[in-house]
């Protein structure tokens, strides 16, 4: 459908590179961006989403037929089944007309195809880590590294756990030196804000580096 009413691009059209055309209403029009919150089960993804969101975390469900979907690991998943994937998400209104959505990624392994959809067009990702189960975040780190999506690693400092230095976590995860590693309390709004700021700064650094 080509009529003008049905669709207004937030920025420059659907496939055009950004930043070359003037925006239509205000600096960015009515625009939405997304950041993913990834990590192992029970690491605090939804807690973090809730801590920084202005709405209580919402849950949305996607019904997917896995037939023909590129699934890395189909163990335990029968062919031709329809699966319901639940995603928790929140919203931050950065200013009128600019909304930031935070999506907690659904469980790892079974739902890589959902990750692909979620990751498309995302600003970046926060990978939450628990030092007691650091290996749980390996798949997330790997996912974002492979796709060139900017991410930060945030160590959720659960009460009663030994605090590890960020450099130890960086070494254990074999991260690039540019990838920020931070300690946080996923329940803290201030910590959540700081994580997101560092992530977007990291994304901006990468843009500058790529442009030379």
């Amino acid at each position: 459908m080509a009529s003008a009413h049905s669709e207004t691009s937030a920025l420059t059209g659907t496939d055009a590179p950004t930043g070359t055309e003037p925006a239509r209403q205000g600096p960015w029009g009515n625009a939405a961006l997304k950041i993913l919150v990834a990590g192992g089960f029970g690491v605090g993804k939804t807690t973090l989403v809730g801590a920084v969101s202005e709405i209580r975390p919402l849950r949305t469900e996607e019904q997917l037929s896995e037939l023909g979907r590129p699934v890395d690991d189909t163990h335990g998943v029968e062919a031709k089944r329809t699966t319901t994937v639940a995603m928790d998400f929140g919203r931050i209104d950065l200013r009128p007309g600019l909304a930031l959505y935070l999506f907690g990624t659904p469980g790892q392994d079974r739902f890589w195809f959902v990750w692909d959809e979620l990751a498309r067009g995302s600003l970046g990702a926060v990978v939450l880590a628990d030092t007691r189960r650091l290996a749980d975040c390996f798949p997330s780190v790997d996912f974002f590294e492979r796709r060139g999506i900017p991410f930060v690693v945030a160590v959720n400092c659960f009460e009663g756990t030994e605090v590890h230095a960020p450099q130890d976590v960086r070494a254990a995860l074999d991260l690039d030196p540019q990838v920020p590693v931070l300690l946080c309390d996923a329940r803290s709004r201030e910590d959540g804000k700081e994580l997101l700021i560092r992530l977007v700064e990291h994304a901006a650094d990468r843009v500058r580096a790529a442009r030379g």
Binding site: G29, F89, I197
Partner: protein, 149 residues
């Protein structure tokens, strides 16, 4: 013209005993508990996808056009269509939010939104398309917005 997916039709459906017990409306559906998927397909007239599949990203923003709820009476729409229009009357809501607030799977919301879009009852804004190198002004805008929270 009456709506083909009206409650009247639903009432004449045989009770799906095979899938009993029926789940309350506010139940979350996970995996096998999703049960009678048929009901969702009947809501969308059997359609799995809207005409323009790419338009309704999870964070595409949907706003009801002015007077949409009055105009909507001229179209054969289901209660779910009206619920969506009411939700996005005052402020733009993302497809994901509409799914959450209507308690419908996103795939169903997309089909319903396709109907509303075809009837010119909603405006849809696709998300900002981030190229390999996002615009630095946009990133700065986001950082400033986060700092101001």
């Amino acid at each position: 013209m009456s709506e083909p997916m009206s409650t009247e039709d639903a009432a004449t459906e045989p009770v799906p005993d095979l899938f009993a017990p029926r789940t309350p409306v506010d139940d979350r559906w996970f995996d096998d508990d999703a049960g009678p998927v048929v009901r969702l397909f009947s809501m969308t007239g059997g359609r799995a996808r809207p005409a323009d599949d790419g338009l309704f990203d999870l964070i595409s923003l949907v706003t009801a056009v002015a007077g949409a709820e009055q105009e909507a009476t001229e179209h054969p729409l289901a209660p779910e269509h009206h619920a969506i229009l009411a939700l996005c009357r005052d402020e733009p809501l993302s497809v994901a939010e509409l799914g959450s607030y209507t308690d419908l799977p996103v795939s169903v919301v997309r089909v319903l939104l396709g109907d509303l879009n075809d009837a010119r009852l909603v405006d849809v804004t696709r998300p900002v398309q981030l190229a390999q190198l996002p615009d630095e002004r946009l990133l700065r805008d986001v950082i400033n917005g986060l700092r101001a929270l």
